[in-house]
């Protein structure tokens, strides 16, 4: 049993050596595993971070598969096969993608060319419309000028060029105020909304003759209400002016000629009527009175025509002086009382106390009031009421005088026309006491001469109210 401890020692040594070898091997394996894991992770990162070329992909695949199959010949064959399949697959997919892209591109190109065709057609249509509009504008007899918001001429048709003796090419794009002659036009460009029609006198450069041009202007606004320019239509009214002047001269001359025989007839009838020539019968008196009354009516008409032609020609003489409105109203009513009484119409006055004096031509304002009150009497049935009122205007800068009746009234559509010369409301005439249809035109001219306004208000069947203003002296 002496050898037993030795064997035990040897056995222990061998076991120790084997354990040491095993531990070393395990340590090496674990180190190799760690290196492999690092390598793999690195490769993973590389793959995920970079876009690989086909060669890279092939190489990576080789490595992966070689690793997996431990580089046998069979492994090489499999690797090649897989690479080929992979390459073919990639090629196929690229082909499909290419087809998809070119199909989409074709659709886009097709749509684009259709849109282009539509746009072209529209452009051609707009161009044709523009040409026809241009042709219309070119051929209209009235002059047409369009200026932008800065006063530069955008468009000027041949008629406007003729009227202004200017060439469009010289003017387009230039401010309208560039030439001295266009100074009048600046005023037309500056036309306010209240003043849409203007008459301007021009001395033509070419024929040196005076022209009277009526300009009707309108502001051009964009859809959002911004002023983008102004369009003016110019009409040559030189001839019309001349005719108006001739007509006024004719009326004035004829009226003067008519007055002479009228005075002769009127005086002769008066001599018979007041028995200077001897006794007359009741019937003779009746009819001579009618003749006399109608002669007065005719004289009144002729005087009205004369007045109107003088007013229109600006030849009416006015003698303004400080005057009391109350006095003017009283005097006007006084002369009409007898006539109103024949129809049992009462004339009431409603005058504010302490009204300031007005600077007016006494006789002319009496003429206005007699016309208005006379009309009221004419169109008010028996037992009606006429009210003449006077008071300070709401603004306090003028005196408002109105004549209101309880007559047949005026339909609303005729209200702004009753001041027109010889205007008649269809159902019956709205004329002055003489029935000439010019009494209201004269009243309007006289009021306007004094710087006042005149207007009518009415509801059919509810009577009419005529009001005029007389500005107070500042």
């Amino acid at each position: 049993m002496e050898s037993s401890p030795f064997i035990i020692y040897v056995t222990a040594a061998v076991v120790g050596i084997v354990i040491a070898i095993l531990l070393t091997y395990i340590a090496r394996l674990s180190a190799q595993a760690k290196i492999n894991a690092d390598k793999k992770a690195k490769k993973q990162n590389y793959l995920s971070e970079n876009i690989l070329s086909d060669a890279d992909i092939k190489k990576t695949l080789y490595e992966e598969i070689n690793e997996a199959l431990a580089s046998s010949a069979r492994a090489q064959e499999v690797t090649n096969r897989i690479s080929d399949i992979f390459a073919q697959e990639v090629q196929k997919r690229i082909g499909i993608k290419e087809q998809e892209i070119s199909k989409k591109y074709e659709t886009v190109i097709k749509e684009k060319s259709i849109n282009e065709e539509i746009a072209w057609k529209k452009y051609k249509k707009v161009l044709a419309e523009k040409k026809s509009t241009d042709a219309v504008i070119r051929s209209i007899a009235e002059g047409l000028i369009v200026v932008d918001s800065k006063g530069k001429v955008i468009m000027m048709n041949p008629a406007a060029q003729r009227l202004l003796g200017a060439s469009g090419k010289d003017k387009i794009g230039k401010p309208i105020s560039e030439n001295l002659k266009e100074e009048q036009l600046i005023s037309l460009v500056k036309t306010s909304k209240d003043e849409e029609n203007k008459e301007i006198e021009l001395v033509s450069q070419e024929d040196e003759t005076k022209k009277v041009i009526r300009a009707s202007s309108a502001v051009i606004e964009s859809e959002d209400g911004e002023t983008v320019g102004m369009v003016s239509v110019l009409s040559d009214i030189t001839k019309q002016r001349e005719l108006d002047r001739m007509k006024s001269a004719f009326v004035a001359s004829v009226s003067h000629e008519l007055r002479t025989p009228l005075v002769a007839i009127e005086k002769s009838i008066s001599l018979i009527l007041d028995r200077t020539t001897g006794p007359i019968t009741e019937n003779q008196e009746q009819f001579l009175s009618i003749a006399q009354r109608n002669l007065k009516r005719l004289t009144h008409l002729i005087n009205d025509l004369l007045d109107l032609s003088k007013l229109e020609a600006g030849k009416m003489s006015f003698s303004p002086a400080p005057d009391s409105v109350e006095k003017i109203i009283d005097e006007s009513i006084e002369g009409l009382f007898t006539w109103a009484n024949t129809k049992s119409i009462s004339i009431q006055r409603n005058i504010s106390s302490g009204l300031p004096e007005v600077n007016v031509d006494h006789n002319r304002i009496v003429q206005v009031l007699v016309n208005l009150i006379g009309n009221a009497i004419k169109f008010t049935p028996h037992n009606g009421v006429i009210t003449v009122s006077a008071g300070l205007s709401a603004e306090g800068d003028s005196i408002e005088i109105s004549v209101k009746d309880t007559g047949i009234g005026i339909p609303p559509e005729h209200l702004d026309k009753v001041f027109d010369k010889f205007y008649q409301v269809s159902e019956r005439s709205v004329t002055d006491i003489t029935g000439t249809g010019i009494g209201l035109s004269i009243a309007k001219e006289i009021v306007q001469w004094h710087g006042g306004k005149i207007w009518a208000e009415s509801e059919k069947g509810m009577g009419a109210k005529f009001t005029f203003t007389l500005p107070l002296r500042k």
Binding site: N283, Q286, F287, I290, R293, I408, S426, E427, R428, S429
Partner: protein, 129 residues
């Protein structure tokens, strides 16, 4: 010729016209009634028969056309002659729709009115027969 049996109704608000016109017609032997308005005319016709009417178009309240229309509602036979101061009065054609025998313009001589009256009366007499 005795015209006293013939009764004329003169409808016009202007007495300066009706006075000499009625005097003249009376001087020709006719009986003449004067109505200063359309309403008065209708009242007179309803109260007593008239042979012929002279109707002015331009009257306040009820104008000539309306009066003619109202008369025709109850009398379809009486001859009516329109009186107008305006040659181109549009209301004349309107009045024609209700049956009128002629138009007498105020600017014309009374003799022209008389000729119209006699002709209308003759036609009316023939129609009656």
């Amino acid at each position: 010729m005795d015209n006293t049996n013939i009764k004329i109704l003169l409808v016009d608000d202007e007495s300066d016209f009706t006075q000499p016109m009625s005097f003249w017609l009376k001087s020709k032997g006719y009986s003449v009634l004067v109505a200063p308005s359309g309403e008065d005319a209708i009242k007179i016709i309803k109260e007593q028969p008239v042979d012929i009417i002279f109707m002015d178009l331009n009257m306040p309240v009820m104008d000539g056309v309306t009066t003619v229309k109202k008369i025709r509602e109850f009398n379809n036979t009486v001859p009516i002659i329109i009186i107008s101061a305006y040659v181109d009065d549009k209301r004349i054609s309107e009045a024609t729709n209700y049956g009128i025998s002629g138009v007498f313009y105020k600017g014309e001589d009374f003799q022209a009115g008389l000729a119209l009256l006699e002709s209308a009366l003759r036609t009316h007499k023939q129609l009656k027969k």
